[in-house]
Point group: C2
Chain length 85, copies 2
């Protein structure tokens, strides 16, 4: 994960790579399910073979402890996919 | 749709708004299905209440007639959702 700043807002961002578009979109849905369950939502950019996940806290316009927790949980989702392959 | 230029690549981009994250993600999946069916894939940024769709042709690093066709078909997907509400 890297910390980026956009429009003055600090964000946590990481790219995850996949074999094709379908697998990328499946990951987007998995992270989307996690987001819905936790009531905290990232930006998910889905492309062919790649998903970019960006976490930040809209209310404080920056990073909160919860964003780092969600980033770690996003990694867990990605790792569970690798093991399932 | 507006034409944007990123890293010297012309792209077609439009934002679609929704009531929540779930509806936004559903639209992402619908456009993803269309992309898979046509073998031409956009970047889809899914956020709470918003999806940004970006079409361009990777091979020519710019815009091809097909991107404009896919943009129109993306609008059709969005309009079919409105009618279904």
């Amino acid at each position: 994960w890297r910390i980026v700043e956009r429009d003055g807002i600090m964000q946590l961002e990481r790219e995850f790579t996949f074999r094709n578009f379908k697998q990328a979109l499946a990951f987007t849905n998995q992270v989307g399910d996690l987001a819905e369950a936790e009531g905290h939502h990232p930006a998910l950019t889905t492309e062919w073979g790649k998903v970019t996940v960006t976490w930040w806290s809209h209310k404080i316009k920056g990073l909160h402890k919860n964003d780092f927790i969600m980033a770690a949980r996003t990694d867990e989702v990605a790792q569970s996919n690798v093991r399932a392959d």
